[in-house]
């Protein structure tokens, strides 16, 4: 279980994952050794799984971002597995999520521009297996994207 100090540590790291142990120790009022021990424990417990660099796809020329909401043909027993295995082979798919609800799977797809999107959509997405229905939401603007947890 997390205590208040763990939560404060994680909040600080969520705001800036590059913070080092000395800075964290200063902010919290613990010795660096104690901070290190807590971080090690959080890692061992699988709470803290690391960090990753955030890639700004727009800066790499991928100006279009589309959320594809897919309903699968569930009469086929392997619908999810087959579909996801196929979606993994599309390089422009950056997220795959499965849901309980009206939508079965969601793909986050990026493309350089609209003709590029249309090409990927027609040549690589539509041929994926067991699609019953597909809806697209095109991102106009990302208002909030930090994905931090309200610890």
């Amino acid at each position: 279980m997390l205590d208040d100090i763990d939560r404060r540590l994680l909040r600080l790291l969520q705001a800036d994952a590059a913070r080092g142990v000395p800075e964290l120790a200063d902010a919290i009022g613990l010795t660096p050794a104690k901070v290190t021990r807590r971080l090690d424990r959080l890692r061992e417990d699988g709470v803290l799984k690391g960090s990753r660099a955030i890639i700004n796809w727009a800066a790499l020329g991928y100006a279009v971002s589309v959320s594809l909401r897919i309903t699968l043909d569930k009469t086929v027993s392997r619908a999810f597995d087959d579909f996801i295995a196929g979606a993994r082979k599309v390089p422009e798919v950056i997220e795959i999520q499965t849901f309980l609800g009206r939508v079965d799977v969601r793909l986050s797809l990026i493309a350089k521009d609209l003709p590029d999107y249309q090409r990927i959509y027609r040549e690589q997405v539509l041929p994926l297996p067991h699609i019953a229905d597909i809806e697209a939401l095109m991102t106009v603007a990302s208002v909030k994207s930090d994905e931090s947890l309200p610890l």
């Binding site: 994952a17 990753r52 660099a53 800066a59 993994r88 795959i96 849901f99 969601r106 994207s145 994905e147």
Partner: protein, 150 residues
């Protein structure tokens, strides 16, 4: 900005694990520590690396439920989008807000401790917001991030 294969390899490696030191990364890619550092700096300065995000096990810190919400505004033109975006973004449980074109106007990612907690957030904080019309909720079962076209 033109990137070469080493830049792409660096991006792939850092997107998977940003805790690696420049020394470790350099060894993997056959670069010196300083050359690795210079390349990372260049990618940061160009805005290609937009930051670093912590990876937490949401369930282990008490957030057992993630829901994606599609929100349609009921009274378009009468509600200021800026006001709506500011208010919805200020709800701590709302992790992401995207303004979208299509069936819905906004796509939200919301976390909650459990379904009862989610219902509380939805009813008390989101549905009460001026202008919110049709809402569709889908509960996240699994999630996978892919490296992308690099």
């Amino acid at each position: 900005m033109t990137l070469d294969d080493l830049d792409f390899a660096l991006l792939r490696s850092l997107a998977a694990n940003a805790d690696q030191s420049t020394k470790q990364l350099g060894q993997k890619l056959g670069l010196s520590q300083s050359a690795t550092w210079r390349r990372i700096k260049r990618l940061q300065d160009a805005g290609v690396i937009a930051g670093r995000s912590l990876v937490l096990d949401a369930e282990k810190v008490g957030f057992g439920v993630t829901v994606f919400l599609g929100v349609k505004l009921a009274t378009k033109g009468r509600v200021s989008l800026e006001d709506f975006e500011r208010a919805i973004g200020a709800i701590p449980e709302v992790q992401t807000v995207d303004h979208v074109l299509g069936l819905y106007d906004y796509r939200l990612r919301v976390v909650a401790t459990d379904l009862a907690d989610f219902e509380r957030v939805l009813r008390r904080r989101i549905m009460t917001m001026p202008g919110v019309g049709d809402v569709e909720a889908n509960v996240l079962l699994s999630e996978e991030r892919r490296p992308g076209p690099i």
